[in-house]
C-alpha cells in the first residue's frame, strides 16, 4: 500500500530533481523544485512526520519557492546564462565525480539503514516536535531565531540602495 504511494512520489521527486538542474529557464527550475518539495512532503507523511510535512509545504513551497519566483520576475529576461562556456571540461568532470560520489554516498546511507522502529501514534505530531523544541532543543531554537535575525539584517544591508560613492578599492 505504501509502496503505491512511495513509488510515484519518488519518481516525481527524481524527475523534479533532474528538472531543477536541467531546465533552461529559472522559472522551470523553480517549478521543478516545487515538485520535489511537494513529493518530499508526501514522503514525510509516509515516515510519520506530519508536522514536518506541514512545515515543508508552508515554508518551502509557500515561502522559499515564492521568493525564488519573485526574484526571477524581478530580474526578468536577462537572468539567463551567458553565451560562452568558460569551463569546457567542467561538465564532464562534474558528472564523473558526481557519479563516483553517488556511489560513496549510497554506500554510506544504505549502510546506515536499519529496520524501522515501532512508534507511538503521536510520533511526529506538532505537539511532540514542539515539546522537543522547547525542552531539549531550547538553546538551538533560540539560535535559530538569531539566524533569522541575521537574515533580516542581511536583507536590510544588502537590499538598501548603495551609498553614493560606494566601492572603495579597485574596480
Amino acid at each position: 500500500m505504501e509502496w503505491a504511494v512511495f513509488v510515484p512520489t519518488a519518481a516525481l521527486a527524481l524527475a523534479g530533481g533532474v528538472g531543477v538542474i536541467a531546465a533552461r529557464q529559472p522559472v522551470h527550475s523553480a517549478l521543478a523544485l516545487l515538485m520535489v518539495l511537494a513529493s518530499l512532503a508526501v514522503s514525510y507523511l509516509l515516515l510519520a512526520a506530519q508536522f514536518i510535512a506541514v512545515l515543508q509545504v508552508i515554508i518551502y513551497a509557500g515561502a522559499i519557492v515564492v521568493l525564488f519566483l519573485f526574484v526571477i520576475m524581478l530580474l526578468h529576461a536577462r537572468s539567463g546564462e551567458g553565451p560562452r562556456e568558460k569551463l569546457p571540461r567542467q561538465r564532464a568532470e562534474a558528472y564523473v565525480f558526481a557519479a563516483l560520489y553517488l556511489g560513496v554516498l549510497l554506500a554510506a546511507a544504505l549502510g546506515a539503514a536499519a529496520p524501522l522502529a515501532s512508534i507511538a501514534a503521536e510520533f511526529g505530531t506538532a505537539q511532540q516536535v514542539g515539546e522537543s523544541l522547547f525542552t531539549t532543543y531550547l538553546l538551538p531554537f533560540e539560535l535559530a531565531s538569531v539566524i533569522l535575525l541575521v537574515g533580516i539584517v542581511a536583507a536590510t544591508v544588502l537590499g538598501r540602495r548603495p551609498p553614493e560613492h560606494a566601492g572603495r578599492g579597485k574596480g
Binding site: 527524481l14 525564488f68 536577462r78 539567463g80 558526481a98 539503514a113 538551538p140 537574515g151
Partner: protein, 100 residues
C-alpha cells in the same frame, strides 16, 4: 511498509543531483535551487533516520535545517540581486574578477 533504504537511496540521489546542479549550471538562481535540493535531501535522510530510530530528534533537526535554508535563500537572493544591479548578469562564471 517501505523500508528505510528506499528513502535513503532517494535522498542520496537527490543530494547528488543537487551537487551536479551546483557544478554544471551557471545561472546563480538555479545553483541556489540546487543547493536547496541538497538540503532537502538531507532533510529526507533526517526524517528517515528519525523514523528508523523512533526518536523525534531527526525531525527537530529538519526544523532547524528549514530555518537555515530559508535564511540562506534570503541572503543568497539578496546577493544575486545586488550583483545583478551592477553587472546585469546572474551567470556565476562572469563573477571572476578575483583569481590567482
Amino acid at each position: 511498509m517501505v523500508p528505510a533504504p528506499a528513502y535513503l537511496a532517494l535522498s542520496a540521489v537527490l543530494f547528488t543531483l543537487g551537487a551536479v546542479g551546483v557544478l554544471v549550471r551557471r545561472n546563480a538562481l538555479i545553483i541556489f535551487m540546487a543547493v536547496e535540493l541538497m538540503l532537502n535531501s538531507v532533510n529526507l535522510a533526517f526524517v528517515t533516520f528519525a523514523r528508523q530510530h523512533g526518536s523525534i530528534d531527526g525531525q527537530v533537526a529538519v526544523f532547524f535545517v528549514l530555518v537555515v535554508a530559508a535564511v540562506e535563500v534570503v541572503v543568497g537572493l539578496a546577493l544575486i540581486v545586488d550583483i545583478f544591479r551592477s553587472r546585469e548578469t546572474v551567470d556565476i562564471d562572469d563573477v571572476d574578477l578575483l583569481r590567482g
